[in-house]
């Protein structure tokens, strides 16, 4: 390599720094080792990039959040004291959709794989050589929408096509995230090729070309049109030219459509693979969820189409997350992922999305059905959308907010609880937020499993829930509740609470300690209840509980959710929390028994004491379901609670995880319509009885029967 123009480091950043791309590319380097950081910085300057450094991940995040457009690429060390490099990677990918390169002294294949699956575009080994750095600009290009006319980029374009979908167009950031992940995987295989290509391209790109490719931002609207066009033509027959004609959008080129189509296809694939992954995960967990997942994935595709609207983006993102989240770790990655998803996915504010998502959700999780059913229950819950929306936004935000709380924790809580929590949250969020819903739904999905017992009940009130998407959320929540062993239920609870706020008029019914606590949201969700004293506060409690799970975030989430809801329940929850906590760990079993009763209430009731346990668990779901009914008389709740609790308890562990996974899948799919989801869930629940493999067995069945 020739050291030419040492002044590279001082290259002034021109306004249109893309004119001389890759010269002037803005890189953010993060490494806790000052020597390495300094070396990296100097090397990058030598390549004529513009470099900013940060020796802490949190500082880097702040810089990125402050202005995402300030950077083109992020290079981050894997081992850092304040935050795991992979976590940072996920966050950046989710939130900012920037390409991230991992750096480490370790060449362990597992780590490299982990990096790729988390969405890294490359993995470099220390000490870094300048030759490798000279090629990193390609990752930025791949992410951009490449203007086909740009000849320089043509070779890149091919690569881009390969790598694809990395470009994160704003709206489709979520999708991209997913795709990026996918692409990352692909890239891994193509690494060698890419490198070679890179070399060639590198040479080509030495000359500053005005390849500033204008990025086509695939907004929700645009994407909706796209999906509509694809659906109209049929996925197999959809060719870019025809799609373009159908869409009839000015300024859109065939290439834009082509690459977007590619991404879309990958997204769909991812959904299905996610579903299978989830299934795997579930299997690992021992939860029936896997079945859900599979189903979910299948459904997901369908849903995906539906989602096509705004939901889609979220879904894809979610999808992407789900896999990573789920796999990565239910706890943290999931958390994070969820977050990301939530933020990205949740974006879909349209309740429509929710419903569809819900549908997908429900569908996706065949097993989850129980939870789904709950979702359905939610539908009954009047809170449905309105609450949901509030919740959702709140939930969503809550979820998102949690990030700060714990970055991952927030989500992890949801995520971690992998099934339970998240779904719950998602469910709730689903209602209002399409985006949030995904998570919520997830929770629900999971919940459904657990719900077994609950399912019968009402799958968390889902049934009663207002048809509005909210129901879904609620249902979802309940799902969570069930699973979450403690956490999950929490989630569910939270969700429920969320819903509760809106719908939770039920709170009243829930109030019965058991229900109230657990139902958190559920009661609240039942908008019918109107009182919605909802135990929401319980949700908060739930969060507290969840904390038990260790997810501090959850609390945050729940808290958010809850606060939307009347906090009356809070108190309850508080109680529950305490109870719950101990319960959480093992209360599930209790809950399960409870759940069997009929409804959610029972589990909840139990949970109330157990609250900690139940709340998280499914009963939220069940409660919700109950709530949904609005009419869920307290009695029901108690029943439900019990059953929910039981269900939850059982399912919690497994379900949660499984659910979470499923939920993830679901969420992605489409929270689009909570209603749909709820319905789906309902159906699922029935089917789900199977879900409870062993765990839920009791609960699930009971739930299922309830439903």
């Amino acid at each position: 390599m020739t050291v030419e123009d040492q002044r590279g480091g001082v290259v002034s950043k021109d306004v249109s720094h893309y004119d001389k791309f890759p010269v002037g590319m803005r890189v953010l380097a993060v490494d806790d080792d000052p020597i390495c950081l300094k070396l990296l910085e100097t090397l990058l300057r030598k390549c004529q990039y513009q470099v900013t450094t940060a020796n802490q991940a949190v500082i880097a995040l702040e810089m990125l959040r402050e202005n995402r457009d300030k950077f083109d690429l992020v290079i981050s060390d894997v081992n850092m004291p304040d935050m795991d490099g992979f976590k940072l990677l996920e966050l950046v990918g989710l939130e900012m959709d920037l390409p991230v390169i991992m750096l480490s002294a370790h060449s362990d294949t597992k780590l490299v794989m982990k990096g790729i699956t988390h969405g890294a575009v490359d993995y470099l080994l220390k000490p870094v050589r300048i030759e490798e750095l000279k090629n990193i600009w390609q990752h930025v290009i791949r992410r951009k929408k490449i203007d086909p006319k740009d000849q320089n980029k043509s070779p890149n374009e091919d690569k881009a096509r390969h790598g694809n979908s990395e470009s994160g167009q704003g709206a489709s950031s979520l999708g991209n995230a997913d795709q990026n992940g996918k692409n990352s995987r692909k890239r891994k295989d193509q690494n060698e090729d890419e490198e070679e290509e890179g070399d060639e391209n590198g040479n080509d790109s030495e000359d500053p070309s005005s390849q500033k490719k204008p990025r086509v931002v695939w907004s929700v609207e645009l994407h909706r049109k796209f999906v509509a066009a694809v659906n109209q033509l049929g996925l197999e027959k959809a060719v870019p030219k025809k799609i373009l004609d159908l869409m009839d959008v000015e300024g859109l080129t065939r290439e834009n459509v082509a690459s977007h189509l590619q991404k879309y296809r990958l997204y769909l694939k991812r959904i299905s693979s996610v579903a299978s992954q989830q299934a795997n995960m579930v299997a690992a967990l021992g939860v029936k969820d896997s079945s859900y997942l599979r189903m979910a994935s299948l459904d997901g595709f369908g849903e995906f189409r539906n989602l096509a609207g705004s939901g889609r983006l979220s879904s894809s993102t979610l999808s992407s997350y789900a896999p990573s989240g789920m796999f990565g770790r239910l706890n943290s990655p999931a958390g994070l992922n969820l977050r990301g998803i939530t933020s990205s996915g949740l974006i879909q504010p349209s309740s429509q999305n929710l419903s569809s998502s819900i549908n997908t959700f429900g569908k996706l999780q065949p097993t989850l059905l129980p939870s789904n059913q709950s979702a359905g229950l939610y539908q009954g819950i009047p809170t449905s959308l309105e609450l949901n929306q509030l919740q959702q936004s709140k939930c969503a935000t809550g979820i998102g907010d949690f990030d700060p709380i714990k970055d991952s924790t927030g989500f992890t809580v949801s995520g971690s609880f992998p099934d339970n929590r998240v779904t719950v949250g998602s469910s709730s969020s689903l209602l209002s937020r399409a985006s949030s819903n995904p998570l919520m739904l997830q929770g629900n999905s999971q919940q459904t499993h657990k719900r077994g017992p609950f399912g019968n009940q009402s799958s968390l009130g889902v049934a009663p829930l207002n048809p509005e998407s909210f129901d879904l959320g609620i249902g979802g929540s309940s799902n969570f509740v069930n699973h979450n062993r403690s956490d999950e239920s929490w989630q569910g609870a939270v969700q429920l609470s969320r819903f509760s706020s809106n719908a939770l008029p039920l709170s009243e019914p829930f109030n019965h300690d058991q229900m109230a606590s657990n139902n958190l949201g559920i009661s609240s969700t039942s908008p019918h209840i109107g009182n919605s004293p909802i135990e929401f506060p319980s949700t908060n409690v739930v969060s507290g509980r969840l904390e038990d799970s260790g997810d501090v975030c959850q609390e945050g989430l729940i808290g958010n959710v809850v606060h939307n809801m009347t906090y009356t329940s809070k108190q309850r929850w508080e109680e529950y929390k305490q109870d719950y906590n101990p319960n959480m760990n093992h209360s599930f079993s209790d809950i399960n028994s409870m759940v069997s009763n009929s409804g959610i209430v029972s589990p909840l009731g139990r949970s109330l004491d157990q609250n900690s346990a139940i709340c998280g668990r499914s009963f939220d779901v069940s409660l919700i379901g109950q709530l949904n009914g609005g009419s869920l008389s307290n009695a029901h709740h108690s029943e439900f609670e019990n059953s929910a609790v039981d269900a939850k308890i059982k399912s919690n562990e497994d379900c949660l995880l499984g659910q979470t996974k499923s939920q993830d899948g679901f969420i992605q799919n489409g929270y689009e319509s909570l209603d749909d989801i709820m319905n789906a869930m309902m159906k699922r629940e029935q089917n789900q009885t199977l879900l409870s493999d062993g765990e839920f067995g009791i609960n699930a069945y009971s739930l299922g029967s309830c439903i």
Partner: protein, 149 residues
């Protein structure tokens, strides 16, 4: 010229270190980063590295010699130093760090003690070499500056 001789001397010295395996080609890359605007780059890097390594090793010794061996931190720190030393080209030291890390991950106290000893040894020889290089570097820079005047 003195400058040329010095430079030649420096290169010879570095080459000998490389022959011993103490340094590897990475050091050259570091050297290549030296620029007109930043002639002290190598010096600064070396100085920074030595101070980090000194602290790190002292810290690791503390972890190892405490009543209860703090393997977790020891693992992290040895990994950290591995990155640093490999970045500057101190390949033998980097390998020693890697081995120490493995022993630490396995909670192998005896292994850690041995690894630690070896690491210190490698570090000392590396440090000595780097210091000598720094001296020559300083001279070179001084000469260059004087030459410019």
């Amino acid at each position: 010229m003195v400058g040329t001789d010095l430079r030649q001397q420096l290169n010879n010295y570095i080459q000998s270190m490389r022959d011993q395996g103490i340094l590897d080609s990475q050091f050259q890359s570091v050297q290549a980063l030296k620029t007109e605007e930043n002639p002290h780059f190598v010096l600064e890097t070396i100085t920074g590295f030595c101070s980090d390594a000194d602290n790190g090793i002292a810290q690791m010794t503390r972890y190892l010699e405490g009543p209860v061996v703090d393997f977790t931190n020891l693992t992290g720190l040895s990994h950290f130093l591995r990155g640093s030393s490999s970045s500057i080209g101190g390949v033998r030291m980097a390998l020693a760090c890697r081995d120490l890390r493995r022993a630490s991950e396995a909670n192998n106290k005896q292994g850690c003690i041995e690894g630690m000893a070896r690491l210190k040894h490698e570090y000392n020889s590396l440090k000595e070499g780097l210091n000598n290089i720094s001296q020559i570097e300083r001279q070179l820079i001084g000469n260059a500056q004087r030459g410019r005047q």
